[in-house]
Every structure is written in C-alpha cells, then in structure tokens.
Symmetry: C2
Subunit: 131 residues, 2 copies
Amino acid sequence: MCGSHHHRSHREHCGRTRRASSFLEAWLLLLLKDDAAHGYELLDRLRQNLTGGLCPDPGTVYRNLRRMEEEGLVASTWELRDAGPPRRLYRLTEQGEELLQAWAAHVEECRAGLDRFLEVYHQMNRSADEE
Amino acid sequence: MCGSHHHRSHREHCGRTRRASSFLEAWLLLLLKDDAAHGYELLDRLRQNLTGGLCPDPGTVYRNLRRMEEEGLVASTWELRDAGPPRRLYRLTEQGEELLQAWAAHVEECRAGLDRFLEVYHQMNRSADEE
DNA sequence: TGCTGATAGGTGCATAGTACACTTAGGAGG
DNA sequence: CCTCCTAAGTGTACTATGCACCTATCAGCA
C-alpha cells in the first residue's frame, strides 16, 4: 500500500511523513494529470477546488512543486513568451502518476476515517437525545 | 464558524493552525465526550478508531491532553489506586464540548474536500478509458 | 520617461506539531 | 533482584507551513 519506492524512515503516508495533512501534493498531481500547467495557474485551480476557499500560500505551492520535481514526480520546462514573464511549465511524470494512484487510495482511507468520526459523533448525539 | 473564543492570528481551523491535520484533538474530544478516561486508555481507544491502525505516539497524545487542559477544553484529576501507578483522569469541559461541535463541522468540510478529490480522480480515469 | 498593477516565481525566517528515543515511577510475578 | 506491564511524561531533531519580502517581465497610462 502507498507506492513505496525509495523507502524513507518511520510512519509513511504515500512515501512521505507529514505531507499527508493538506493533501496539497495529491491535488497538484491530480491537477497536473488533467493538464500540464505552471505554478501560478495551479494556485488558481487550487483556490477553486480546495474547500472553503482555504488555500496554501504561493510560497508553499512553489516550494512543493520544486521538491516534487527533485523527486521525479513532475518535470518542468521554461516557457518563454512574448507577453509576460517566463513560466515554468510542469507536467506529470510516470512516477508522479503512480504516486497519484497511491494518494487516491490514501485519500479513501482518510475519508473512511472521517466518516467513522462523524458516525460516532452523530450516534452519540442521537443517544443523548433519547435520554 | 469554528468556535472562535480567544482569537489567534492567521488561518484557523477550529481555533488552531495546523492542529487540523491528524484530527487528534477532535478524536480526543469525541472519546472524552463518550466517557472520562486517562491518557493511556485514550491511546488504546485511538488505536482502535484511527484508520489503518496508524496512531500518534504516546508522547504526542499526552502532550496534546496537557495542552488541551491549559486551554480549558478538558479537565483532569489524579486518580490514586491500590493497584498500579496513579492516573490522570480527563473529562470534557463545556468549552471542550462546544469545540467538538465546531470540529464536527470542520470534519464534514474536509470530507467534502476528499470527496471532491476522489470525484475528480475517478472521472478522469473514466474519460481516459473512453478514449 | 516614470509609475502602477498584473503576472510569475521565488527566498528567509519564525513557528507549530510530530516522531523517536528516553526517563520516571508503581506494582505484579517469578 | 530482575523483568514486565501500566502510566505519564520530557528532550531533541526535523518537517511543513505561514507571513513577509524580493525579483523580473510586460502592459497601460500620465
């Protein structure tokens, strides 16, 4: 479970330690599977997709993309344009696609955990009402 | 939204910053709503409830409980027994119960986010199959 | 020419939260 | 006496993030 190439020490979620929290990496892989894009655009797409309009700041997104490239999950090329500053265009690699699959499995697990929480929570409220 | 007493700076999830990741605080509040308990027992109950048997280590749980007491979410009393070492028995406070409600709302939001992720993911795979 | 604003991609620093290893302590059983 | 189980911690290193800030390109405009 959770594609486990280049193994790291301790508690892993999809090959990383605490990367699991915001699912930023997962979203980036997903968005890039849909279509190659540059960081600024991904930031926009994240804002549309992330719940509550809450979104990691630009620095975090750019840093994550650079790291993911180092790890071979994405690849980038500079796109020089007439209009506007050059962009770093990212695309998903095969490794990235594999990891995305692992992420999907992990996300399902997490959702099951949240379901469990809500189930217990609501059941508790129901039995409190009956008293 | 998200019970906002003693307000803190920046991006808050239920009054805390990155506390949202593992939902440890939420689970502790939930388990303590069910019944008062000491840390060691909560650790056990967490192992049963957390997905994949993955569970924060004892140090993390104890530290979180102490912090939560400082913040007035839980209250503790020492329970001296004939058999075994003394235990710190925690119970939920009213403030804690209020925050639990906020957490439940937040958890539902997060689940919706994961649903959205999986929806996009599966839809992408479906359309890839059709090609 | 100079200014502002949008686009684009970053860096530096402080802070939060956790994992891992370790410690303390009581009591039970050999 | 030694070991194990219960119970509650502490110390330290490390990761990931938020916030503030910087650089650069180009467009529009006075």
